[in-house]
Symmetry: C2
Subunit: 247 residues, 2 copies
């Protein structure tokens, strides 16, 4: 079976968490909206199709045989069970999903740093609120989330190297993507913060070096970060620049 991924063609966005899982799984898939001019029409069609019994609310969604599965974490739950990128036992499966849902909350807060008032408005129309929200995000929320995942890594059994244990799961792939995205969006704040999270730093490198992920990151399938996605670099939302000449 060849999966069909439906997601916006010009951003990493939430679709990237699914792309990373499909790549690490070595699954056959087509990224429909990037596969030609009919792709975008196909993407929009499912959103509007009145004959669809289980309509998605928004992209990404994955067509897997007769199933159409939406919501990023739900797609990963499905792929995890099929492709050994999550534990098979109930406790491990739930724990992996719990980590993913916490990552989803984190991502939602990243998005709202540049869109604190409404997704439907331009960033430029909500800049003062964005500055305030981003400042709180950098000082309170980033350390809270990153510190949490560092603690998770501190507690894995000796000899394990991934969030859930000895093998990489979709939660590790997502954590890699979050760190890469935060580095792009908040380079100064991340430069300051990541010194406190050596295990997360190592995890990021370890995932990037997984052979299938490394090949994907080098390929044209990997879209570059940009100012349309979740992770956006606006210098005014990052830490203030360091002064070069002292106080």
């Amino acid at each position: 079976m060849r999966y069909e991924l439906y997601y916006w063609p010009s951003i990493q966005g939430r679709g990237e968490f699914v792309r990373l899982a499909l790549e690490q799984a070595g699954a056959a898939y087509v990224d429909v909206a990037r596969a030609g001019s009919r792709g975008m029409r196909a993407l929009m069609r499912w959103l509007d199709d009145e004959s669809l019994e289980h309509p998605p609310f928004a992209p990404p969604y994955l067509k897997a045989g007769k199933l159409i599965i939406a919501q990023t974490a739900n797609i990963l739950l499905y792929l995890g069970a099929r492709h050994r990128i999550a534990p098979a036992n109930e406790g491990g499966r739930l724990w992996t999903h719990q980590l993913q849902l916490t990552i989803a909350d984190f991502i939602g807060e990243v998005h709202d740093t540049h869109h604190p008032i409404a997704s439907s408005l331009y960033y430029e129309d909500q800049k003062p609120a964005a500055r305030r929200r981003a400042a709180e995000f950098r000082s309170e929320r980033m350390p809270k989330y990153l510190g949490y995942f560092e603690r998770v890594l501190e507690r894995i059994p000796r000899g394990s190297r991934y969030l859930v244990g000895s093998k990489p799961t979709y939660a590790d792939l997502s954590m890699f993507q979050v760190i890469a995205g935060l580095r792009y969006a908040f380079p100064r704040a991340m430069g300051r913060l990541m010194r406190d999270y050596p295990l997360l730093e190592a995890l990021h490198g370890r995932v990037a070096a997984l052979p299938r992920i490394a090949a994907y990151l080098r390929s044209k399938r990997r879209i570059a970060f940009n100012r349309q996605g979740i992770f956006r670099h606006y210098p005014e939302l990052d830490d203030a620049p360091m002064r070069k000449d002292g106080p």
Copy 2:
């Protein structure tokens, strides 16, 4: 096995979605932080316990035998499989979870109407941003989400009465709670909007009349809506009042 639910004792909050599922399941559970003076200490202990291999990021969490499960939708996924409040087949299970994750996104946006800048700040310190965000929420997001769930109900097989089909699932219980909460928080906007969503209106009444839910809602176990929870009534965030004497 008696479940232990850990959640803040004075609000419905995200814990309420778990409480409703436990009640409809007829499961034996103790709402730990409400069960006596040691309850809050117990709740905080799990958050800080360094010996815990799978620490929760935040309440609610559920102790089920040896498992400690956090993230509302993840807890419901677990309970759904055990207590027949979700379909047993894979497609139905994923669809129910997909609806729940969309409800979770909706709830996150409700919360941010009164806290658009930071959860750590008082509402009073983010009022202008809250007014703007709430206005966008009422005009764009509420109709988008409510319209989506109305469409889901339009497409269920003839003779079915719940979101996923003939039997109530945890997604129906959560949808009931969202409508009840929105009615409390935005009575004027909901009075205007709900006329367009007769199937959701009927679903709300149907869930409220389920014998176990009806008994729960009458009991002292049901905490009243208040201004500490997710759904908060601030008149200035609702529609403007109707003028009584014409234009």
